[in-house]
């Protein structure tokens, strides 16, 4: 009897996943987003194979600010480095920063939101007060004032976990300042989930609060977290690009935003070097848009009216 | 001709009306060959489950089909003139002036950001060409007519009770002096006492203004006191048509019989609505034969193969093989 139930639910879950994939992949926006992202993930995975090691002013291969040619498909920068080389390596930096910042933000947001919604009372009041602050203050503004101070304290030399300090700081700061809207969504979902019978059942059986949250509530939050996670990545790319553009990135590990900052300082715009400033911006735009499209498609697919919770 | 407001002239003639909905390339027939006539001052109930086509029938008459729905066969004649139902713009003069609608759930059917009087006065200004002050006077009269103090018209919809809002909807429906008012489940969201008051108001207004009334409902119990005639719909077709007295006393179609049995009746101990077993039919892939045969307790072999036509019988119309001459072979019962 119980074995039957298990098999049945397993089969229905497989069907649910299949249905989900068919619907999600049938979404035009999602298709476009996924294709673009695969492209950029390949760039980010093997930049050395595709364009060789990151060029520096010393091993630069071209003229100064040379327009695109057969040798340099995307032209060169002000010290003669190949822009294609820089942009492909930048993909790795930009995507890593955005994804890691998102992971931090999702972990913090989910933890805060779930704790707040599950326990309620004064825990809820205080956590939501903090969440309010981060919700109201844009991540970019907070990062703008926190990042330079933390960098001043830590110094800009050496590296932390393979990152230059400024990148590491940017990852952590973006992650720690952009979780508020995830927390709000997770909280409201948790509030409705904890009233469901399956949570009562678990409570009657004597499961601890922690195991109820992790085993029963968290799995049901996954759709919401995934859809919003995609939007968080897109926001993180936007913030990272802006911060690096203002000079908070690191020229030794240049992200797309740092390249734009270098282009700006080199006067690329007034020199008409459209390739130099165009390439990194277009990449950032494409990746951010892809994540927005995927997030929207996920949101459409996980339409709450259709979602089935046991 | 002496007293036109008491005439029983033929208002509406629905003839073989079929409506198709298109959704993502799939076409489904919501109503199929619906025919009936409506006279001035007559009150008819359209009864059926959701998906039976009762709302589509009424919306076609009111010229309010959604953009993905089309009349594919048949026609509707209003006072002898064919209605251009598929032409949204050409239907505009007909709407509200000839046929108005009292929607269910007046909370959502009224615009939340406009005052009551303004919403009632709007069709008077735009359709009757009254000035703003004339329209306001008319709106106040209409409010009094439906039993709301005219001064309450300064309120917003959310400030009124459910029953009051439904009265406002009725006042609004009367604004352009239509000859037909369609009530689309007008009492569904209301408590029993308010429900009775609203139905009584419908009855009073009908005799006072000689309105023809089409009442859409899935609840047979609201029909008895309000309507003269009842039409039972199933899977897009009319399956039975007769006076309220006849249909309640002697239901002919098995579906009607089950519907009447399912009405809760505290007198004989039934307090809950007993649903009819089985699922409503799929309108994209219609079952063969009579759409009801898979749920019908008296189904015969012929029911699975042949669509019964809606035939005139003594006192009314019915679409059921039980009421037609059949061969022995046709009469083999499906269910033991």
């Amino acid at each position: 009897m119980s074995e039957n139930t298990v098999q049945y639910s397993k089969r229905s879950r497989e069907r649910a996943i299949k249905d989900f994939l068919r619907q999600f992949l049938g979404h035009g926006g999602a298709q476009l987003g996924i294709v673009c992202l695969i492209f950029f993930f390949v760039l980010a995975a093997v930049p050395n194979i595709l364009v060789g090691p990151l060029q520096t002013a010393i091993n630069a291969t071209g003229d100064f600010l040379a327009p695109p040619s057969s040798q340099h498909l995307l032209g060169t920068d002000e010290v003669g480095r190949d822009v294609l080389n820089l942009v492909v390596h930048g993909a790795r930096i930009s995507l890593t920063i955005a994804l890691l910042a998102t992971v931090i933000s999702l972990i913090v947001g989910t933890t805060v939101g779930m704790t707040s919604g599950y326990f309620g009372g004064w825990v809820d009041v205080w956590l939501m007060r903090i969440t309010d602050f981060f919700f109201v203050m844009p991540s970019f503004v907070l990062a703008l004032v926190i990042t330079p101070v933390v960098l001043e304290v830590m110094g800009r030399g050496g590296d932390i976990l393979g990152f230059r300090p400024s990148l590491f700081v940017i990852i952590v700061v973006i992650g720690m300042t952009s979780w508020a809207f995830v927390a709000r969504i997770v909280r409201s979902q948790t509030l409705s989930l904890k009233e469901r019978t399956f949570v009562d059942r678990a409570r009657v059986v004597g499961s601890s609060d922690f195991s109820i949250m992790v085993q029963h509530i968290l799995p049901n939050l996954v759709p919401q977290i995934a859809a919003n996670g995609a939007l968080v990545v897109s926001g993180a790319i936007y913030i990272e690009t802006s911060l690096s553009f203002l000079g908070l990135g690191d020229p030794l590990q240049p992200s797309w935003g740092t390249l734009l900052s270098l282009a700006q300082r080199a006067g690329a715009a007034s020199a008409g070097a459209w390739w130099y400033l165009g390439a990194p911006g277009l990449c950032a735009l494409t990746v951010a848009l892809s994540f927005v499209l995927i997030g929207n498609a996920l949101d459409d697919t996980f339409n709450p009216r259709r979602r089935v919770i046991p | 001709m002496t007293e036109p407001s008491r005439s029983t002239a033929l208002l509406l003639n629905v003839d073989g009306l079929s409506v198709d909905y298109k959704l993502k390339g799939l076409s489904s027939r919501a109503i199929d060959g619906v025919s009936f006539a409506l006279r001035a001052g007559e009150a008819v109930a359209l009864v059926g489950e959701s998906g039976s086509g009762k709302t589509t029938t009424a919306m076609a008459i009111a010229g309010l089909l959604s953009p993905n729905a089309r009349v594919s066969e048949g026609e509707v004649r209003y006072r002898g003139e064919r209605l251009p139902i598929n032409d949204d713009v050409a239907m505009r003069p007909h709407r509200w002036s000839e046929t108005s609608v009292v929607f269910q759930g007046a909370m959502n059917a009224l615009n939340p950001v406009h005052r009551i009087t303004k919403q009632i006065a709007e069709p008077c200004i735009l359709r009757l060409g009254l000035s703003r002050s004339e329209a306001t006077v008319r709106a106040r009269e209409l409010l009094e007519l439906v039993g709301i103090p005219a001064d309450r018209g300064a309120a917003y919809p959310h400030e009124l009770s459910g029953g009051m809002r439904q009265r406002v909807m009725i006042a609004m429906a009367l604004a352009c002096r239509p000859s037909i008012v369609i009530g689309d489940e007008p009492t569904t969201a209301l408590d029993v006492i308010t429900q009775a008051q609203i139905l009584k108001l419908f009855g009073d207004l009908r005799s006072k203004l000689n309105l023809a009334l089409i009442l859409i409902t899935h609840d047979l119990s609201v029909v008895a006191e309000t309507c003269d005639r009842v039409m039972i719909m199933y899977a897009g077709r009319i399956v039975e048509d007769g006076t309220v007295a006849d249909v309640f006393a002697q239901p002919k179609h098995p579906y009607t019989q089950l519907l009447i049995e399912s009405i809760p009746n505290p007198a004989n101990g039934k307090r809950m609505i007993r649903p009819i077993p089985g699922d409503p039919p799929n309108l994209v892939n219609r079952p063969s034969g009579c759409a009801f045969h898979s749920r019908c307790p008296s189904a015969m072999t012929v029911c699975a193969t042949e669509v019964p036509s809606l035939d005139e019988v003594r006192r009314g119309r019915v679409a059921c093989h039980l009421h037609r001459p059949l061969t022995q072979e046709d009469k083999v019962a499906i269910h033991a």
Binding site: Y238, L260, A269, L293 | A109, P112
Partner: protein
């Protein structure tokens, strides 16, 4: 009535409390960040490492700022009281200049830039978005929605750089740098025209980003309204499409858009930091970049406080006016 009054008072109380809590966090964060920076705070307060000061000056500074007293509560109280009095300290980079004065000096240029951009973006974005939502699934909807999602995901400073390349460098139509042409001080009308010419490109860059945002929100609001039952009622009343749009759909769809407009007022200062940097527009944004490059912490913190105040105030206004247009919430 009394219950309604009570509810309104409570609502206002909550909104004020939230604003106060957020602002206090801004001030406390500023306080903490400033104390965390390595080096002698007295020296920092006198103008940073690049300024040479005598030991006596340092001692006097320490006394007058109470830096030998405990951080909490004494120094915090002093800091908060100074902040409340508008004393934001002195800039490192612009020697001897008060931070508050610097901010006031730069503020008008930023307000002009972002204010004009907001006006244009609201008119264009809301019109396009409402139309797209009204005719959902149509050609205009597909183009507008695609374009605004792209604009929404594009850093506006990059749009600014492209505008410079195209309209300033390649075509030479408009200036792409600064707020005025050097040495061209003739009549006041010429001065104004010159200023406006300098405004065109930065305003366009800021406005384009905002248009994306307004389109997305207005389209969503309008497509929600179109699906409402009262729109069916309006159609049943025999209204024309235009009458339905103007009398029933537009105002209802404007409710959420108005909230966005109010909230965006808070980003008047923060919204153009990167764009100002592209165009060297002499406003708060450019001051931010200068402060970042020179590690001019007092100025940076002054800016943070200014941004915080404007954002919190806009949120407060949105909170309090929420529903002024919506009778369901008004009462």
């Amino acid at each position: 009535m009394a219950a309604n009054g009570g509810r309104t008072t409570r609502h206002i109380g909550h909104a004020l409390l939230r604003a106060a809590v957020t602002l206090s966090m801004v001030v406390i964060l500023n306080f903490i960040l400033f104390r965390v920076i390595p080096g002698d705070p007295a020296k920092l307060l006198l103008g940073g490492a690049r300024v040479s000061v005598t030991a006596e000056q340092l001692e006097a500074q320490r006394k007058s700022w109470g830096l030998e007293r405990p951080l909490v509560p004494d120094q915090l109280v002093d800091y908060v009281s100074a902040t409340l009095h508008g004393d934001l300290g002195y800039s490192f980079k612009f020697r001897g200049r008060r931070v508050a004065g610097l901010l006031l000096e730069r503020l008008p240029a930023t307000i002009a830039l972002v204010g004009i951009a907001q006006l244009i973006a609201i008119v264009v974005g809301v019109t396009l978005g409402m139309y797209a939502g009204w005719r959902r699934g149509g050609v205009v909807d597909h183009i507008t929605t695609g374009a605004s999602l792209a604009l929404y995901s594009t850093p506006s400073f990059w749009v600014g750089m492209l505008l410079v390349v195209i309209f300033s460098t390649a075509l030479g139509w408009l200036p792409g740098y600064g707020g005025y042409s050097p040495g061209a001080l003739k009549g006041s009308l010429d001065l104004l025209l010159d200023y406006l010419r300098h405004l065109v490109l930065p305003v366009s860059a800021v406005a384009l980003g905002l248009i994306g945002q307004y389109v997305v929100v207005s389209r969503a609001a309008m497509s929600d309204v179109v699906a409402e039952d009262y729109m069916v009622t309006a159609r049943a009343k025999g209204l024309t499409d235009l009458q339905m749009l103007m009398r029933h759909a537009f105002r209802n769809a404007m409710l959420p858009v108005m909230t966005l407009v109010t909230l965006n007022l808070g980003y008047v200062v923060a919204g153009a930091i990167t764009v100002e940097s592209v165009f060297a527009w002499p406003g708060i944004g450019n001051l931010t970049v200068e402060a970042l490059n020179a590690r001019d912490y007092p100025v940076l913190q002054g800016i943070f406080l200014l941004l915080g105040v404007s954002i919190v105030v806009a949120n407060l206004v949105a909170d309090l006016t929420y529903g002024l247009l919506d009778p369901r919430v008004r009462q």
